[in-house]
Symmetry: C2
Subunit: 266 residues, 2 copies
Amino acid sequence: MDEDKDMLNGANLEVKAPALRPVYELHRASEPAVRRATSCSLCPARAICFGGNEPQNSDEGIDSIVHTRRRVFRGEHLYYAGDAFKSLYSFRSGFFKSYVDTPDGQSQVVGFPMAGDVVGLDGIASDRYERNVVALDDGEACVIPYANIQGLAARSPGIQHQLHKIMSLEIVQEQVIVAMLGRMRAEPRVAKFLLGLSQRFAARGYSHTKFRLRMTREEIGSYLGLKLETVSRALSLFQKNGLIQLNFRSIEITDLRGLDGVTKGI
Amino acid sequence: MDEDKDMLNGANLEVKAPALRPVYELHRASEPAVRRATSCSLCPARAICFGGNEPQNSDEGIDSIVHTRRRVFRGEHLYYAGDAFKSLYSFRSGFFKSYVDTPDGQSQVVGFPMAGDVVGLDGIASDRYERNVVALDDGEACVIPYANIQGLAARSPGIQHQLHKIMSLEIVQEQVIVAMLGRMRAEPRVAKFLLGLSQRFAARGYSHTKFRLRMTREEIGSYLGLKLETVSRALSLFQKNGLIQLNFRSIEITDLRGLDGVTKGI
DNA sequence: CGTTGCGTTGAATAAGGTCAAATAGAGTGG
DNA sequence: CCACTCTATTTGACCTTATTCAACGCAACG
């Protein structure tokens, strides 16, 4: 979570933006993706990435398709909507925001991917990414060129299936969001959001009761279909009721069961 | 749209439900899926299904993976959430509703698939379908066993890519719904829903200004995150403003541009 | 011809959004 | 390290919107 702080800054400004990019990105743009001694066998995201179904002969295995990694600093975009689709990305660390720009110039958050999550699947449909992905916290992603995946998937049924599973899972999980947006009131939504984060942190070996929110209230609100004030009020209420202890971005869930109860209340 | 009315009724009640199935299904349950003289070259879903990338030698082509079809009558389920995942389905005709049951016993509509749409992708992730799919109108689906797809996709890069595209498209389209649910007011939502239907009918060669709603106001509401009364009020308002002409389920869009304007209003 | 399900409409209510002001933090530059 | 600035957050008061509750109309069906 707090690795990758030892980077050199300032070098290699890439200028190929399809849209205006925030000024702060210029301060420390990422190095270009570099081939490294990447071993998927050591990757914390490995299990999630390919579910241990990789072929046994290592020349043909995952290591052959993931040949670069890319660091992404806070505020920097991994890709923009409209960029040509070339690769999927599997995060090794960091915390990110996936969003789309709506016709009316607003932005709609569609997810908060983190270590172990795969992004880029939105690009396959039209050969261009449909979403934007930006780092809310410094991190690193494995670059998985789609061309390589295609070849490997053709040779390895296990990997083919795992790729399908990842896509299917994304479809199913989006439907969970839809169900939430469609049916739940404000407070249950916020509660479910916190519990969702909690579970995801837990699955990655972090504390599931004490963590830092990497996103603003407004970003939470966008994701949940609420205004930032409503999010803030809900959080304050949870605190007043002893369900959480919060200090701006730092949160501790003190009554997991109670919070889960809020979820049920419509 | 109105074919398949000539079926024999009453035979072959299948009893293998994982959940209670509505009584009306017993009146005319579907025949079991049968191998038929199926030619994908005649299938209306063909282009959407595999985008014309099928291999030229017909033995190895699409025809080899779609070997059965299945009729589904109004009120009958194509599959239930929890059923073992075996196949994808590509609709040749009919109109359907895809929904999930929420923990609190409600049901949340997640889509209205129709001819040319593919369903079942939700089942790959966990080997069980996550959604329910029920016919709102008699129809027929091509049964595409997943095992067959895997084999063919491994042999044909074009088909592999087309499958990925279908999945990616579903991911992207769900995100459109999320954006709608998260940002729009009631009337714009309903307007966008109508325009969406209009486009889909147009893409299939039907009138895009005059069609029949196959679903109830409540189902529309569930899909849009609104109550049925709100949907009804929105429709009535559109009619009052001369944007549509509606008579219960029959609708005619009389001012396409005007309706599109409603969409923009937040 | 009553029953049932679907749809419309109205009035009251509650939920969330909007507007506004105060305050805390984080980042920046001296 | 400190002051300054900008952004994020909280909270209150008020307002708009959609939901809730309820009554009624219509059509299909036994």
